[in-house]
Amino acid sequence: MNCLELQESLATAEDGSSLGRDSERQAHLKTCPECSALVAELNLIASSAIELRAADEPSPRVWNSIEIALRQEGLIRPQRPSRSLLPSLGSRWAWARWAMPVAAAVLIAVGIYVRQTSLPVQLARDVAPHAAVPNEVSDVAIAGLNDDDLLQEAAQQSPAMQAQYTDNLRRVNQYIQDAKGVVAANPNDEEARRSLMEAYQEKAMLFELAMDRSLP
């Protein structure tokens, strides 16, 4: 297995825990410090994403928004003076309110990773233009979320803004695709990598806005 084949095998890995288990990968990783560092970083990102679910404490604004939702759903009394400190567990989309900030954080982490990781010299020499970068590890595989989740959340929470979210999602996905294309064509272009990071940042913001119950 060479560097290119290892990169491609990473793109097909379902999650970070499966990285590095294959015997051919292991053999290559033992001899290639660049790829070994790459896999180590991906595993770190994957493990950090899991830890974020437990460690990421929502802001008071999120609690306030959850309380508004509870009031609207009639689960707490209208004039109750104290704030609920527990997230809604009964709501159909409760999981999404936790998962989306995690997804946003992971997308940002991917963007930072893509920016910071320099391609191995050997890879730059051997690889065809469209297979060079590790951003082929899909957003869905890393974050565990997809665009449909975002759109359903927007449809439920902000029906008046659903068209706006749909349109902006389409645009930001095109942004990411274009940025990926430029990075693939110019793998050593730091500006291109930064553009890709910014595109991911925009998508992360879209998720953040969609899950914020205080906003339409």
Partner: protein, 285 residues
């Protein structure tokens, strides 16, 4: 009674009913230096201006009994939340705020459809909203952070600011905005910068498909690089071209050069994928 008189009576009655539905509430908090003020108002406007002294004064207009205002002073931080009650919606849940804060206060505002406005402050300002119109002016020595989905953003007269604007499709206009870092990222909204790029700052304006236009006076000193992958790049100002560039600067899709005094110059990066980029000289009147 004439038809016109009846009409006036009806309009008056409607107006009176409307006014009767509005409720004005005032709150006042004594705070220390560098206080924090946070306002979360799902539907309605928020306007923040400087107060005399270390006091936060909140004037809220509630448009129905379907919404209430929660407020709290925690340490040196004032938190305000518009609470939608059962049956409340975007119309009945509307609250408009006018808030006076110490000029050194840090302000965080969240809204959706209302306008967000902050002026004459030198504490950090963070404004966030989906379709909210954002207007920030006369800020100095502070961080200014803005996030919008499609709401337009206008920032005027910010000096020594650390300015970061993220907008998916809203138009962003910066007028006389300078500082160590001025960064705008947009997916499809246009970016319009009017000013002189200060000195020794980093200015980065990026849009995927929106147009970028920078209008600068002839006295501007800046290293300017502009590059559009699929759009056009126009430069009305003579630049001293860079002798060493790492990207091709021909075909009307990119340029890179220095205007004014290189020793005093800021770094200006204009990037787009399919939008047009235009660097133009401001006409003196």
């Amino acid at each position: 009674m004439s038809g016109r008189t009846i009409e006036l009576v009806v309009v008056g009655a409607m107006l009176a009913g409307s006014l009767a539905a509005e409720t004005h509430k005032d709150y006042r908090f004594n705070v220390g230096p560098k206080a924090g003020v946070s306002v979360n108002n799902p539907f309605g406007s928020v306007s923040v201006k400087p107060a005399a002294g270390n006091v936060v004064v909140i004037n809220a207009v509630l448009y129905s009994d379907k919404v209430e205002v929660d407020n709290n002073l925690v340490g040196n931080r004032v938190e305000v939340q518009s609470h939608l009650l059962p049956g409340g919606d975007a119309e009945s849940g509307r609250v408009d705020y006018e808030i006076l804060v110490p000029s050194d206060a840090s302000v965080t505002l969240h809204s959706s459809t209302g306008s967000l406005h902050a002026e004459k402050l030198h504490g950090d300002v963070t404004l966030e909203g989906a379709a909210a119109t954002v207007d920030i002016r006369d800020i100095s020595n502070a961080h200014v952070h803005v996030k919008t989905l499609n709401g337009p953003v206008t920032i005027t007269n910010v000096q020594d600011g650390h300015v970061e604007v993220d907008s998916l499709s809203g138009e962003v206009t910066l007028n006389s905005v300078t500082g160590p870092l001025v960064q705008v990222i947009s997916t499809s909204g246009g970016i319009n910068y009017i000013g002189d790029f200060g000195d020794r700052g980093e200015y980065r304006l990026t849009s995927h498909s929106g147009n970028i236009e920078a209008t600068v006076p002839g006295s501007t000193s800046a290293d300017v690089s502009a590059r559009s992958v699929r759009g056009e790049v126009h430069d009305d100002i003579p630049l001293q071209p860079k002798t060493h560039t790492w990207f091709p600067t021909n075909n009307g899709s990119a340029f890179w050069g220095t205007m004014g005094q290189a020793t005093m110059s800021s770094t200006v990066v204009l990037r787009s994928f399919s939008g047009k980029i235009h660097l133009r000289k401001r006409n003196s009147k």
